[in-house]
Symmetry: C2
Subunit: 205 residues, 2 copies
């Protein structure tokens, strides 16, 4: 359907992307050297440069692929006959778990770092992450089942508030290395508190 933009050819393509992913996530764009990427990917520099015209395109290819993967993240919602409150708890728990995951943290870190240098990257990340989840949550909040229990004027904002509540306490602590791997109990607590606050505001009276 789309012209592959004269990128990608041979069989070691995935190796290259994978190696680049590793190094870029660890070192950032400027911190990562092409030699190191090639070494880590177990591939010669010539091969690498036969796939991508330069470092920028390689970087963007990696980030693009990661954003696509990020867009696929599913937080099981609406699964069966859960109550609205239970559903919200499930949503929050999966959100928090993702925020604190290595993948989620790495993505966030390098996209924050490089959104200036690569303006389109910022938009891509935002669209495939926060925006997409916000939309999805808002969709649920607008569903009949939820509307029976909740009363919300601006569901998009409400969805974002819920997501932000999920970042309480833990998110920044992990991001700045204050805490490494929060116990599940702590995650459950934050999720529970997020739902409580959310329902206090939006539960139908």
């Amino acid at each position: 359907m789309n012209a592959p933009a004269q990128i990608k050819k041979g069989r070691k393509f995935d190796q290259v992307i994978e190696g680049a992913r590793t190094v870029f996530m660890r070192e950032g764009y400027e911190g990562a050297s092409v030699d190191e990427i090639a070494r880590d990917a177990g591939v010669s520099k010539a091969t690498l440069y036969s796939y991508f015209p330069d470092k920028q395109h390689l970087f963007l290819a990696v980030l693009q692929s990661e954003c696509a993967q990020q867009a696929e993240v599913e937080f099981l919602m609406d699964a069966g006959d859960l109550s609205v409150e239970e559903t919200l708890r499930v949503i929050c728990t999966s959100l928090i778990t993702f925020f604190l995951s290595t993948f989620g943290q790495d993505m966030f870190r390098v996209c924050v770092a490089e959104a200036q240098r690569f303006p389109e990257l910022g938009r891509t990340f935002y669209d495939s992450g926060p925006k997409k989840w916000g939309r999805k949550i808002a969709l649920y909040l607008d569903s009949p089942k939820a509307r029976a229990v909740l009363e919300i004027e601006d569901t998009l904002l409400a969805a974002d508030q819920l997501a932000q509540l999920c970042r309480a306490d833990l998110m920044l602590k992990v991001l700045f290395g204050i805490e490494k791997d929060p116990p599940e109990a702590e995650i459950d607590r934050i999720a529970s508190e997020a739902v409580k606050t959310f329902l206090a505001r939006y539960r139908r009276r």
Copy 2:
């Protein structure tokens, strides 16, 4: 009181720090070259290296100074005879304004980017920013005036929830370049919604 750690000597010290600040904030650590910093500071490289032993120490000096400045940020609270609700609104408005300010965004961006490479930086930033404000807000929430109106078990968590609610919608949009300079009306709206949600949960019944 403290040994100045054989850093800092002469009259152009501030120029150097200022130039370094500019370039580091714009380019990040790896992206910033010492030559560019010296140029921007209007100072010879020799002078620069007479102040700091190497690039790392210069970077850390800048960030340390910025963190100190960050710690001084005051969101006027408890100012006079405002009601609790009014006070919360003032807190939120100043928080949001800071989050969206050039300084706040730059600090957040480079600290997120480099917290891996400079682990102590992450802690310093977190302590002088989020943690300090959280403590301060919690202090207010624990005050008699606030306690008369609010009922909170975990004031530190509540404070953090409030701060997170202030990041709804706008924070990530600005961080990733989707929106440049949100109008004051929008800021007020987010602040208002944050307070509403907060009070819904924690107002004494």
